[in-house]
Symmetry: C2
Subunit: 438 residues, 2 copies
Amino acid sequence: MNIVLLSGGSGKRLWPLSNDVRSKQFIKIFKNQEGDYESMVQRVYRQIKKADSSASVTIATSKTQVSSIHNQLGENVGISIEPCRRDTFPAIALATAYLTDVKGISEEEAVVVCPVDPYVNDDYFQALKELSALAQQGEANLVLMGIEPTYPSEKYGYIIPTSAEHVSKVETFKEKPDVKTAQDYIDRGALWNGGVFAYKLKYVLQRAHELIDFTDYYDLYTKYETLTKISFDYAVAEKETDISVMRFAGEWKDLGTWNTLTEAMEENVVGKGILNETCENVHVLNELDMPILCMGLKDVIVAASAEGIIVSDKEQSSYIKPFVDAIDQQIMFAEKSWGSFKVLDVQEESMTIAVTLNAGHKMNYHSHQRRDEVWTVISGQGRTIVDGMEQPVAPGDVITIQAGCKHTIIADTQLRVIEVQLGEDITVEDKCKHELEE
Amino acid sequence: MNIVLLSGGSGKRLWPLSNDVRSKQFIKIFKNQEGDYESMVQRVYRQIKKADSSASVTIATSKTQVSSIHNQLGENVGISIEPCRRDTFPAIALATAYLTDVKGISEEEAVVVCPVDPYVNDDYFQALKELSALAQQGEANLVLMGIEPTYPSEKYGYIIPTSAEHVSKVETFKEKPDVKTAQDYIDRGALWNGGVFAYKLKYVLQRAHELIDFTDYYDLYTKYETLTKISFDYAVAEKETDISVMRFAGEWKDLGTWNTLTEAMEENVVGKGILNETCENVHVLNELDMPILCMGLKDVIVAASAEGIIVSDKEQSSYIKPFVDAIDQQIMFAEKSWGSFKVLDVQEESMTIAVTLNAGHKMNYHSHQRRDEVWTVISGQGRTIVDGMEQPVAPGDVITIQAGCKHTIIADTQLRVIEVQLGEDITVEDKCKHELEE
């Protein structure tokens, strides 16, 4: 089975664990059978490999998520990188071209496209295999998964099938309705549109060529910024007449708010947290080093990261967005291609950060115009290059870097460094990259 | 007026803002008329000076609080330092001897003794003046303040007066009762014993000489550790026959739990915090740099410091102690005689801390056996002495200190330093003090 996972943008509804640089699908929140915590993307990837160990998985996402994906899934997963966000039709066209032109998959093969973040069981992945087979057999140009509704939701679009059979033709699509209309749809046999569908590669390539002037993947990638933002539903699905839907009645949850996310947690506390015996339906997600003590709370979510802390009634937590928009947020923690960093101390003319470089990785060779830096190595082995001079470094070594000085650090083993930045005007923009002659 | 403020020990009921090294009376929580936040001790000191600008204030406390007291009240406040905790009778005897032998106050003068942490209005301090005058006039050997009870509390001892007059003789004392007994006492005209009383210095000196073999303040200080733990009530008040009580009917609150403390707060949020419009009776006390967002909560206290975070129903918060006892707490922030420190990062073989030295202060001259240190100066001007060599330091300067090396830093202006400690076994015990030849 070929599968494309659409890994969507950053969301604020799960602040402070998701934000402008970190998306909800990377939060490690689910305990797996080995007792380790895994993220949505890790859980889905593991489930796919369990259902079909030879599945070819490609993640369609933006540049900002590449580091997190490699850190969580390893280096072997395929990634179709969107140079910028252009909605689902350009993203799916690019990923489809990636499968044929980069992965060398035949245009006659089918692919299943689905979101990276549904909370589902193994039966969902069996259904994906069935969906793939239907597309491969030529059941229709496009075969959708229709999810049996469990309540009249306003959050989803609806698919109206022509019959109640397991697989049937699609009569029409309906936009997100109000509750009453949703109930009418359900009474007519409508299914939720979960954004899951399968097609033969050549089908979407043909649609793409009709709508976009491009030769191959590389050409499409280059002109990606010039493309119009348009959804796959609008550009393709709603215009297609040869289209089928396959029913799926298993568990399917969209974990988009603290309320729905905590429903899927097996434990009430992830990280350092204590609930006293009078707490009811309380969940704590704590990424900080300090403990959170909860007493006498009911239906409350507490989530904490270096960005901030939310304490909310679970129902209320879905109204979080405008409050988070109003917070002037400094990025305090980020995963990078080379490791991660964490801001420890911010003063008027200094900033102290803890940097972790993964073994075999290095920073870009760079300089700053308006700040000096002092590195103190606290663990690991590696090398620094400062103005062309390379030297080995080990715990206790101190490297001082004046403004203007080119520098990098290379981790031979995992390397941890305390970096003190000193200057009147410390910004991320103050960075010049340089070529390193090696 | 001479006044001795008893500044009690550390408490855990206001964790994480009070702990083993920080007591509740130093938490800056009350907004004064200038819009600045002040602590209980600062509020009480300001109120005393307003009631009697020439009042001589002495704080009776342990060594561990001296830095915090000087930081919050300045260098001019008198402090009677208890070398160790020996309950209230030795503490009051020591403070009384301090007033005569160190401050040179006549034994014929009266003094008022009261706790440092009641939440009261200006009328309370007028009552203290009246209490002092009564003792000075010889109304009785000991003149107590009796607080008009507002409910049958189990938390206080009771004083039964012989009459309902404003000042009357004391018939008897009663220990903390159950609610029913408390109501009986109140029906008989009993008053709360708030631990406030006045006497002429010679009176307590005489009692002290009867019970302890000592010559003067210095002798008493030296043998303080050998003294028996005994309360002033038990050693003196309950045995005294010439004893009066003066009624006080003004506001008097004991802010010992989050529930009572937040009742006295004028604002719902101290520090970075946001309450949405569906929050009711929610208080946030946030000492962290990151924001706390509260949504849809009712009757909840959220308090956060570098030690941890409590989120509690207000009623429930009084049961906090066993939970805090169970937390293995590393001290993450502390005020010192020379400034303060904050732990930024803890790893297996390193610890990074931010150190602030107040102008004119210095660290002890010391060395460590099992760790190296790297100091990076981030702001201010000063000098370091490393193995006897003095050198000036300014922002950007880095000082590396090998294990065994004697070192100190002297702040000419307020000085901030990032200190990286490196070693396999980093403990506060690994510290040798040395004499500095100057």
